[in-house]
Amino acid sequence: MDVLLTPFEYDFMQRAFVAALIVGVLCSVMGTYVVLRRLSFIGDGIAHASFAGIVIAYLRKADYAIGAGIVAILTALGIGFVNRRGGVSLDTAIGVLFTGAFALGIFLMSRAPRYSVDLQDYLFGNILAVSATDLQVIVGLAVVVAFAILLLFRPLLYSSFDPVVAQASGIRVPLVDYVLLVLLALTIIVSLESVGIVLVAALLVTPAAAAAQMTKRFIPMMAIAVAIGAACSVGGLYLSYYLQSASGATIVLLATVVFFIALALRRAL
């Protein structure tokens, strides 16, 4: 019991566990759509692009979530627009946009008067640095995303599976798609402090991909993904506490192990 409770003696660890749990659940719900719609590259792109917003917010002494939020949402909508209208292929557009925005972030960071280690936390995640205010932002955004998913559950499912027929039947598929991309952007912002820009795509994809090995129904897939995501986030945080390792990397490594176990079990059965 002591092993489980010791970390909770510190306020920052309590906040870290709450943040990890929320991020694990939220990323797994969104990850179910990301995996089924093959959006993982888009998720990675939005995360990297948001770094420019974080650096700009830092230089202007604004909240990171505002800077990251604006850039992430603009990137998400831009990607959606290119996907719908563009003459450029989607993966090319993402590849150009997100590396460009990421490079802008690095460029601005390198010229910052007081080069700060804080910014690196966003690259690799430092869940132990989550402040009480950060946690409020995380909870607030998570509630918004969860509520939107609940309201849009059926249109999202239909347009994920069969967008053409969904649109013919009167579902507003383009609108649903744009909302999903904005929700994806918000989820990524919520996750940045805990797992970081470089690893957030893994937390989106891996639990849902593992769940897909275990079931052939949509709602069970989402439920299993949430269970895996939550367990890996909280379990990974414990592990990182005792192993003195980076929290984001430990969480993602644990999820990766679970994915390969699920894959092996499916092959074996």
Partner: protein, 244 residues
């Protein structure tokens, strides 16, 4: 009021004109067959009626409105090749249930009535024993019937079918024919693209022959007896061998 009214309908994809100055009407309780060679614009015509394509010129109206202004659930559409991910985690029942989604507000529950409609649609397509099966574990004919069942579960006011009998087993074809005739008899307007000219008189009340423009229109007998038929038949035959 006609169920569908197309007037000087023109559809372009870039510089290619897919439909050129097309006029036709479909009344309630009428099955309209759309025949023509591959690439003649049959699918484009159905997509324009479904509101999936905006015309470059002319008018397309469904129940007196532009397709995109129709209330959700009005148009039941079964495309030619379902380009869906067959590994998507849904069963037959899950897919047919999607037919109810356009009718449900976000806060409404999927209720007992919805379940009954879904079960009835599954029953009508002879899929009862397969309801719990994953969609990847179906034959081509069963997959086609699943998507027709979804369109029926939608309780649409008009049904659009794009070559539903291409590549399916004889049993599926008979089930579809009986079902479509029964629904048409109860007043449902149906537009269906097809390659099967021989059985057209059984399926349709009226027919149009399309090859970018409308080449002939009338009862299936009239169209089959007209000159337009022979040319199209040869054309279709040649293309038929080229199909993959």
């Amino acid at each position: 009021m006609s169920a569908v009214r197309a007037c000087a309908l023109t559809v372009r994809f870039g510089s290619v004109t897919a439909l050129d100055d097309v006029d036709f009407l479909v009344n309630e309780g009428e099955a309209l067959g759309i025949v023509g060679p591959n690439g003649s614009g049959k699918s484009t015509l159905l997509k324009a009626v479904a509101g999936l394509i905006e015309p470059a010129a002319g008018i397309i109206e469904v129940f007196g409105k532009r397709p995109r202004r129709l209330p959700p659930g009005t148009v039941g559409y079964v495309p030619q090749v379902e380009e869906v991910d067959w590994r998507f985690p849904v069963s037959v029942w899950d897919v047919v249930a999607m037919g109810r989604f356009p009718h449900l507000r976000p806060w409404e529950r999927f209720g007992a009535h919805d379940r009954e409609v879904v079960d009835a649609a599954i029953e009508a397509l002879g899929l009862r024993g397969l309801a719990r099966r994953h969609i990847a574990q179906l034959s081509g004919g069963q997959q086609q019937r699943t998507f027709v069942a979804r369109a029926l579960a939608q309780e649409p006011r008009i049904l659009l079918l794009d070559e539903p009998t291409t590549g399916v087993d004889a049993a599926t074809e008979e089930i579809l024919l009986a079902l479509i005739r029964e629904r048409v008899g109860r007043g449902l307007p149906v537009l269906m693209a097809t390659h099967d000219l021989d059985r057209a008189p059984e399926w349709f009340d009226r027919m149009i022959v399309v090859d970018r423009k409308i080449l002939a229109a009338g009862t299936p007998r009239d169209v089959l007896d007209s000159g337009a038929y022979a040319g199209i038949r040869e054309h279709t035959h040649v293309h038929g061998h080229l199909r993959v």
